[in-house]
């Protein structure tokens, strides 16, 4: 498995710039997710890495070797497509053998390696089945075996869970992650599902409009996003437009632009006087008692999801807020409550336009 370096990559589709001046390094054995809304350029980037799309500029290197103009059949990159695209006229084992056949591997060796790869994904008892006889989850496993059997330098996955139903998806995510760690695969995953990206990745690259807007490990991105876009795209959040009043180290006193309500937030926003405060719904606590610093609120809507309950609150100071509550802090619709949050959970972020490019 290998290291991938991308330098000032540019991709243009008939006049439209899909990717502009993109730099990215992916380390050996790392699982990196490309996350972004449709049109963010994540699929274009994946296709360029795979060699299916010719970049208009920049370069790509695998372990120091320039692959920018190497045709896809000589790149040794494995790819799992969105709908798996197993060859319908070939059996499971023939599908997996395909990449070995093109490499001129002898028949016995080919069969042995194909079965070995299928065993890794627990599909070695389905050798003679045709794709149409397999379930979606089984097809995905075969597609994975077909990609890893060629011992690729990189493994690319294009929305690999897109064709699976929700229950199967989480199990598949866990299995792919285990396989990746076990075989130390360098893996790039394209997804628009932020939950999937967070659950599986070592690192998430958040893309928007053909550029990387944020990158980092899932924990950091979720809890300390650099932009309001990331905060809103990863999980759910309340974005509150504010002005900065005073700064004290990494704390700031801010004022809600609309209501004039003042509160403390984390972050200094050194070069701007206005921005957004991102307040995660699960960091808001609802109580019935008026604690010091608590804000009055009214429960407008209650949505019970089993694992938690979403409350849509209306506050005079902060406007409309979404709060996620567990067993405690669940109130009836129409109830008058108080909301509390800690200053370190209210993250002050620059005022880049949230939701643009969606």
């Amino acid at each position: 498995m290998s290291r991938l370096e991308i330098d000032s990559l540019k991709i243009v589709y008939g006049g439209w710039t899909a990717i502009d001046d993109l730099n990215l390094t992916i380390e050996k054995g790392e699982l990196v997710s490309l996350l972004g809304p449709s049109g963010s350029g994540k699929t274009s980037l994946l296709r360029a890495i795979g060699g299916y799309l010719k970049p208009a500029g920049g370069s790509m290197r695998i372990d120091g070797k320039d692959i920018t103009s190497v045709p896809p059949q000589f790149r040794d990159i494995g790819m799992v497509f969105q709908n798996f695209v197993l060859f319908p006229h070939l059996s499971t084992v023939e599908n997996v053998e395909f990449g070995l056949r093109t490499r001129g591997v002898a028949k016995a060796e080919r069969r042995r390696r194909a079965i070995e790869a299928l065993a890794m994904v627990q599909m070695d008892t389905y050798l003679d089945r045709y794709p149409f006889e397999l379930s979606g989850g089984q097809q995905q496993r075969v597609a994975l075996a077909r990609a890893i059997v060629i011992r690729p330098t990189l493994l690319l996955l294009d929305e690999p869970m897109g064709a699976l139903d929700t229950k199967l998806r989480e199990r598949a995510q866990e299995e792919i992650r285990s396989l990746q760690q076990e075989l130390q695969l360098t893996m790039i995953l394209v997804t628009h599902d932020q939950r999937e990206a967070m659950a599986m990745s070592d690192r998430i690259i958040v893309m928007r409009g053909g550029k990387i807007v944020d990158a980092g490990d899932p924990w950091r991105l979720y809890h300390a996003p650099k932009t309001a876009f990331t905060a809103e795209f990863l999980g759910a959040t309340n974005l509150l437009p504010v002005e900065v009043l005073t700064r004290d180290g990494n704390r700031a006193r801010v004022r809600m632009t609309k209501t004039g309500h003042e509160f403390e937030a984390e972050g200094s926003l050194a070069d701007a006087s206005a921005g957004y405060v991102s307040l995660r719904p699960e960091d808001i606590t609802c109580t019935s008692r008026a604690e010091p610093g608590a804000l009055p609120a009214k429960v407008m809507k209650r949505m019970f999801y089993g694992v938690n309950t979403h409350l849509r609150l209306e506050t005079p100071g902060l406007g409309s807020l979404l709060a996620v509550q567990h067993r405690h802090g669940v109130f009836e619709e129409g109830a008058d409550v108080f909301v509390v949050f800690q200053p370190q959970d209210a993250r002050l972020l620059p005022a880049d336009l949230p939701g643009e490019g969606r």
Binding site: G50, Y52, P72, D76, Q82, N83, F87, F98, T102, Y130
Partner: protein, 286 residues
């Protein structure tokens, strides 16, 4: 609302049905009916005599086999060439694809007579092909390229290729490109991808398009006449002579029936073959 619109549809089909019956079904059936009616001494009665006469005639049997051979050869070659062209139209950059498409379609707008006469010039004794062969020293005498089966087959293929190409474009477009990407990504060359992935996945939809060329060729008259020089006696020529030279309408009708039966048999064979494959695949997609 829905019942009134569906009854409107039901009435709406009547003019079409009448047109079909009056201008197609009636004259054809009337003509074909003539094949089993024989006039003898002022009375007419049902008889298979036209058919037994035709089947006893060596020239008719030769015509049938010539027609069948010409049709199948034209169908197969047109299918292969049309497939390659359609593949280029669909998979090449749009500009190149459009140029190929327009060039192929342009020949469809030219009269088949003009095209056959064009081939007469090209393939003639003094024609450019013979001149080139002699010039290159490949042959010492001009070759007999015209007035034979090969000339007719060339002319027919030239006519059918664009038709088949147009029919195959949607067949090729229907195959998602990710299949080719997957094969190429696994190390297959473009040619290998075409042979091992593309053809096996599309042939069952492509072969019925070749059937169009087979059926159209079987009834062709002008090209065999103009390029065959009287030596390529297809069944269409026999029918024309029976009806317009000998005025044996019953006999001409019997020959027509035989042509229809022969081509239907080919069509049924091909459709059974490909439908069986398609139903296997349909089970897969469900």
């Amino acid at each position: 609302m829905s019942s009134s619109s569906s009854s409107l549809y039901r009435f709406g089909i009547i003019p079409l049905a009448l047109f079909f019956i009056v201008f197609f079904a009636y004259p054809v059936l009337h003509f074909l009916w003539g094949s089993v009616v024989v006039d003898a001494g002022g009375a007419s009665f049902l008889s298979l005599r036209n058919f037994t006469d035709a089947l006893r005639s060596a020239s008719v049997l030769r015509s049938l086999s010539t027609t069948l051979l010409l049709s199948i050869l034209t169908g197969v070659v047109s299918l292969l060439l049309g497939y390659l062209l359609a593949f280029q139209v669909v998979r090449r950059p749009p500009i190149i694809g459009k140029i190929i498409f327009v060039a192929a379609i342009a020949s469809l707008f030219t009269s088949t007579i003009a095209r056959a006469l064009g081939w007469r010039v090209l393939l003639g004794f003094e024609g450019p092909i013979n001149k080139m062969l002699i010039g290159l020293g490949l042959v010492s005498e001009p070759l007999q390229l015209i007035n034979n089966f090969t000339a007719v087959a060339i002319g027919m293929i030239h006519i059918q290729v664009p038709v088949v190409m147009v029919g195959l474009i949607p067949v090729i477009e229907a195959l998602p490109r990710d299949y080719e990407r997957a094969a190429i990504g696994l190390g297959a060359s473009r040619w290998n991808t075409f042979l091992t992935i593309h053809l096996p996945m599309t042939w069952m939809n492509a072969v019925p398009v070749g059937l169009i060329a087979i059926m159209a060729t079987a009834a062709y008259f002008t090209t065999p006449v103009l390029l065959g020089g009287g030596r390529v006696n297809v069944i269409a020529i026999q029918i024309q002579q029976a009806s317009q030279v000998l005025f044996e309408f019953g006999y001409a009708a019997a020959l027509s029936v035989m042509l229809v039966v022969m081509i239907s048999a080919v069509a049924i064979f091909i459709l059974l073959l490909t439908h069986w494959r398609r139903s296997v695949r349909a089970r897969g997609s469900s």
